[in-house]
Symmetry: C2
Subunit: 82 residues, 2 copies
C-alpha cells in the first residue's frame, strides 16, 4: 500500500462544510478501490485542497476523486515522510 | 496561530535521509519565528515536498524555510481540515 498527496485547484470560497461533504463523498466509495482518504486541508482563498491518502495506485486515487465529483490529475506518491 | 501547507519543487531524487536533515534544519531555528513544522511528505520522483506547519504568518514560514536552505514561495494558509 502506497501513500499519496493529491492537490485540487479552483476551490475558491469553498466552506469547511463543503470540504467535509466532499471528504464524505470520497469515504463512501473509497473501499471500492482499496483507497483510504485520511485527511484533507483547504485554503479557500487560493482555492487549493490537499488530500492525504493510502491506496494501491495513483489511478485508484484519481478514480475515487472523479466518481466523488472532484477529479484531479495532480497526485503525488509520497515515499518518505517525517 | 494559523496552519499552513507549503510546497517545494525540484527535489528530484532526494532521499529520506535528506528529507529528515532538511526537516531538522527547520526545527533548529523555527522557534525564532514562532513556527512549528509538524510533518513533511516527499515524492522524490516528481521532486515535490509538502510541509504542514503552524505559525503566525506565511512570511514567517517562508523566512524559516529560506534560512534553513530550502526556500519556497508556495505557502497556503489552510483554514479548514478534515
Amino acid at each position: 500500500m502506497a501513500r499519496f498527496m493529491d492537490v485540487h485547484s479552483g476551490f475558491i470560497g469553498v466552506t469547511p462544510e463543503q470540504l467535509a461533504e466532499a471528504h464524505e463523498a470520497d469515504l463512501k466509495i473509497e473501499g471500492d478501490e482499496g483507497v483510504h482518504f485520511e485527511r484533507a486541508w483547504l485554503d479557500p482563498e487560493a482555492g487549493k485542497v490537499f488530500c492525504l491518502s493510502t491506496g494501491p495506485s495513483k489511478e485508484a486515487i484519481m478514480r475515487i476523486h472523479e466518481r466523488a465529483g472532484h477529479p484531479t490529475t495532480e497526485v503525488y506518491e509520497v515515499t518518505a515522510e517525517v
